[in-house]
Symmetry: C2
Subunit: 370 residues, 2 copies
């Protein structure tokens, strides 16, 4: 699965794996793909430094990248307390009531909620970048809008290409105009924040919109046949996130969540604002149902919702309260039916790709096309 | 674009074109595809007979098929008046108010609303079948559940294969168990009634669920590259509906609607219950916005909604009231940017398919795969 882009980046397979887990990112890069570590959860620079040290020591010299969330809008001088103050009491009560209805215990004393709004703030993203550029990262990726011009310049000065996620051709053109090098076209079926245009339609639209920039297809890709389809649509590679969640290297630390992921079908996800306030695809749970119920108060806008539910989500995860337990994941979750090593996943993608190419060629020969 | 299935059916391209227009169906078959005429609008058997006479005379002996809506649930002895009586006055008032707000004139005296609920009733579907089997149709297709066993038997006795649409692997397995010969896997991005699972994910799931039955991919397919992608995913062909709406052979009889279709982007559709009460993808309009507005009464369930809005939709179409004017169409509408002959559309699909196969093969050769 080699393309011009994978050759340029010096990787064997044009498979980009986004993951919050250093062990997964390292295994993807070692297996010939391109591991991209998600930085959003690193609010302390030293934590990121520690994990990048580890990652760098475990990729056997293969390229890896970092994904930083750069907020599109700058919010100057706003503190977490300011944002906290904007959350209505009705919504706080709804969180308490929903947790109580499912008997969710409190966090152990002294344990902080994992997710903080600060990970989504520009100053934190910039401190992550200060750390990142101390390492030989080979790709800087960003969701939620194009990275600011000075960040793009800084990356380019170090010879680091910049990738950005887009859910529409318009969005992709903005990235191109901002000097981005690679556009990740992320379809409706993807896990996490996602738009309404499906990968089958979005990929060629984005390819045409930003040509000759290379495009990675994201959303709905978890097999070699789906990689072949994405490349047929004009992508120069694929961007996979969900598929790694059930690898043995993933550090979900929740056997119950892993079981739910392995059991879920493609119809068991929902695009909901429950997690962050923006539509994000995730496992459908009693928690998302509560937020999506018209009888409830409904989710707040970003960043309020994320802050509102941070502690609740930590409690649900900590105590593995099964009906409420979820995670961002794409429709491809239906294909995740057993825990496998990252290397085995990559091998399987390669074999499936070869079979799909053979199938297409049998059809093309039958048609006298090639 | 030949597959085992297209060879079996004696067609040049594994491109199945669904259309309500006989002239489009005939042109698709003449161009080497497989034209499938939608029968739902023929409430009078003689009208269907007249159009099948015409179709049969204009396909130059090439195969064509018929798509009949067989309701999954039998409603014995229920008349249109019974259904009318179930519609709340609040909803009737909402229709009147919305039309009045946009100054939609009444229909000319004596002109009936086009769409009637009867087209969706089993006795009407059966009368359509009585007509259809007088013609050498080569495919019987059905949406909304598997056709009843006696209909499948009747088709098979005449050597006519039966196809049915599915939006999930579970749905597809039901079709297989009902003796269906071909499953049309219709993804989220498709026009008309559609589920939530996108084509990229749905196609291989359905292929695996019903193997060795052939599967056609539907939804998001409007280019040769998208056909190549669908075949890479394991489909034996593609089922296209939207793409024909802006062909010169289409009898939309509404220049304003054609203009709207040509101008629309992939983000200008919505999956709404406004049309029939079941989620159907269509152009987003002031009409769908009104029905999807939480402040309004919201759509009624099928078949009430279709009956409720039938006259209103006819008035909107008749008078081409632009803000309200819509039609079922998929996200592929963004690719429909000029009126073209059906033959030109097919030629373009073929060329695009060849280019996509070349691209995949260049990648495969680079990878040492083939």
């Amino acid at each position: 699965m080699q393309t011009e882009l994978s050759d340029q980046l010096g990787i064997e397979h044009a498979v980009f794996g986004f993951t919050p887990f250093p062990a997964v990112a390292a295994a993807i890069s070692r297996a010939g793909g391109f591991g991209v570590l998600g930085a959003v959860r690193y609010t302390a620079p030293d934590d990121l430094r520690r994990d990048l040290d580890w990652l760098d020591a475990h990729t056997e010299g293969r390229p890896y990248g970092l994904d930083v969330v750069m907020p599109a809008r700058k919010v100057e001088g706003v503190t977490e307390a300011d944002v906290e103050a904007m959350i209505p009491e009705e919504h706080r009560r709804f969180v308490r009531d929903t947790l109580a209805a499912h008997g969710v215990p409190a966090l152990p004393e002294g344990e902080a909620a994992g997710w903080r709004i600060t990970g989504w703030m520009e100053q934190v993203a910039r401190s992550q970048l200060d750390v990142a550029f101390d390492y030989p990262i080979r790709l800087l990726a960003g969701a939620l809008g194009s990275p600011p011009p000075d960040v793009v310049t800084r990356a380019h000065e170090r010879g680091v290409p910049v990738a950005a996620l887009a859910g529409s051709a318009r969005h992709a053109r903005k990235h191109r105009d901002a000097g981005i090098d690679i556009v990740v076209a992320q379809g409706y079926e993807a896990g996490g924040h996602t738009g309404e245009i499906a990968t089958m339609v979005l990929t060629p639209e984005v390819v045409e919109a930003v040509a000759p920039l290379p495009v990675l297809a994201a959303g709905g890709i978890g097999s070699g046949a789906q990689i072949a389809a994405a490349l047929a649509l004009g992508a120069q590679g694929v961007w996979l996130g969900s598929l790694w969640l059930t690898t043995t290297e993933a550090e979900l630390h929740s056997p119950a969540l892993t079981r739910k992921l392995l059991a879920a079908g493609s119809g068991d996800t929902v695009r909901s604002r429950a997690l962050t306030g923006k539509p994000a695809r995730q496992l459908r749970t009693a928690w998302t149902d509560a937020w999506d119920d018209p009888a409830g108060p409904g989710p707040l806008p970003m960043p309020l919702q994320g802050l509102l539910v941070a502690e609740a989500v930590s409690r649900i995860q900590k105590h593995e309260v099964e009906p409420l337990l979820g995670t961002p994941v794409g429709q491809i979750v239906g294909r995740m039916t057993e825990e496998r090593r990252v290397q085995d996943v990559l091998d399987d993608l390669t074999r499936g790709f070869e079979r799909a190419v053979d199938r297409i060629n049998r059809i093309a020969r039958r048609s006298g096309t090639s």
